[in-house]
């Protein structure tokens, strides 16, 4: 039976979808059977960043409303045979979602997978609630700014009330140069406020948006520092003790951008 993990943040635009796709792909690269579920009903985009939009036939609302079976809606990723997507509907809104029905669907799906990653929408309303309901664990995504951290704190409080087992933190779009100039929150300060286990720091990297616009998952096509960060998250989720990358600020000129942490 698989691990059901919701990827959520409160704040929008911090990288939940990017992280769901890339961490999901990284877990699949490790040999795990993974399905990523787009819970952003009405504003779906997980299929777009994975380049699968023209392969979508059915979506989660079709299952919920009885128009298809579960495996008819699952879309297999282009490169990996153990990596699947369950798309969201673009025709409905989050108010149309029945939380119990979603819960039941995910409960059935998790029997066939090692990992079920639920890409939560922003906010704390019905969409968020439906993404959280079936989840047993959570990944909180923040960017290093006060708004994001405040929203995450709210969300963590709600998840604690719900009784979620394990919650870990991913800091996305981290720019060490800006942190050093004190224009961006330091990761230690973020961890201090939120009081969560830090499971990953993903550096700001142009290649991420670039590959999304081309409909390609970064970790499957490019090998750079962001890829390494995503892969490390997957390895830590699997129990490996991986030291954090030493993300030193970029030096102009000849010297290399990063070196491995001790």
């Amino acid at each position: 039976m698989g691990r059901v993990i919701v990827v959520t943040s409160g704040k929008g635009g911090v990288g939940k979808t990017t992280i769901t796709a890339n961490v999901g792909a990284s877990l699949a690269k490790l040999g795990k059977k993974v399905v990523v579920v787009d819970m952003d009903i009405g504003l779906r985009n997980l299929d777009v960043v994975m380049g699968l939009e023209n392969r979508v036939v059915y979506n989660i609302m079709d299952i919920a409303e009885g128009r298809c079976k579960i495996n008819q809606a699952l879309v297999r990723e282009k490169h990996l045979s153990n990596f699947f997507l369950l798309p969201a509907s673009q025709m409905h809104t989050k108010e149309d979602v029945n939380i119990e029905t979603v819960y039941e669907i995910i409960s059935i799906i998790k029997e066939s997978f090692d990992y079920v990653l639920l890409d939560s929408p922003a906010g704390i309303e019905n969409g968020f609630k439906s993404a959280v309901a079936p989840a047993e664990e959570a990944l909180i995504v923040v960017t290093p700014d006060v708004s994001s951290v405040r929203d995450a704190d709210r969300v963590i409080g709600l998840l604690e009330n719900k009784g979620i087992e394990g919650i870990s933190l991913i800091i996305n779009r981290y720019d060490s140069t800006l942190v050093k100039k004190r224009k961006m929150l330091d990761k230690n300060d973020i961890v201090d406020v939120l009081g969560l286990d830090l499971i990953g720091v993903v550096p700001e990297n142009k290649a991420v948006i670039d590959s999304e616009n081309r409909g390609e998952i970064l970790v499957l096509t490019t090998n750079n520092v962001a890829t390494k960060a995503f892969e490390n998250i997957a390895r830590r989720m699997e129990g490996e003790d991986v030291p954090f990358l030493n993300l030193v600020p970029e030096k102009r000129g000849i010297f290399s951008i990063f070196k491995r942490g001790e």
Partner: protein
């Protein structure tokens, strides 16, 4: 002594010396009568009992315990131990404000309000709020909104807003986290933050 028990006031508090010339039941009746007559005086008290030769067996201890419990009195039997009681007295008078303990950080969107004292085992995050009529004791730092009736103890004061009674904190001190707790209270119409247990220096 002519009475089954004598009540003595000392620097440490009230001592009850039992008289072995009387029977246990006589002693207990006398204690009950005295405590009833002077209920208000004894409420919330911490009494030391000297058996003075009386055999304090399990049954006697139990009887004494239920007696003092009715009056909300914590007592120590010399040579045996202390029995603490926080129950209300029969006629409904409470001897102390109730203290609640919240065993986690107060997160954004959470509000705790209580008529009494509050202990927080964690921080009060920026979007959180804690209100108490008495004192607030925070095993962490305050980033959010706090209001107390008497004082606030914390390891760090960078509140969004802090009020004690009707006085609002003007945030004159630098935002810092301390290794040892500080206390915020009202002095001369302003909220000041001081080291807990600060002693007056001998400087002139």
């Amino acid at each position: 002594m002519e009475q089954p028990a004598i009540f003595k006031g000392t620097l440490e508090g009230i001592t009850v010396i039992l008289n072995p010339a009387f029977s246990k039941s006589e002693i207990l009746s006398f204690l009950e009568k005295t405590l009833s007559e002077r209920k208000v005086f004894f409420s919330g008290a911490n009494i030391k009992v000297k058996p003075n030769g009386i055999d304090m067996n399990e049954e006697t201890i139990k009887e004494m315990e239920s007696l003092f419990k009715r009056f909300g009195i914590t007592f120590t039997i010399e040579g045996i131990g202390t029995f603490a009681h926080k129950e209300k007295i029969d006629n409904g008078e409470t001897s102390s404000q109730e203290t609640i303990i919240i065993p986690h950080t107060i997160r954004s969107g959470q509000i705790i309000s209580h008529n009494g004292n509050i202990v927080i085992l964690g921080d009060i995050n920026e979007g959180g709020e804690v209100n108490a009529s008495g004192n607030i004791y925070v095993f962490g730092v305050i980033r959010g909104i706090v209001s107390a009736g008497e004082s606030i103890v914390s390891l760090g004061f960078t509140p969004l807003r802090m009020t004690i009674g009707k006085i609002v904190f003007g945030n004159e001190s630098n935002a810092k986290t301390y290794r040892k707790p500080r206390i915020a209270k009202v002095e001369e119409g302003k909220i000041v933050i001081k080291v807990l247990g600060e002693k007056k220096s001998l400087r002139r």
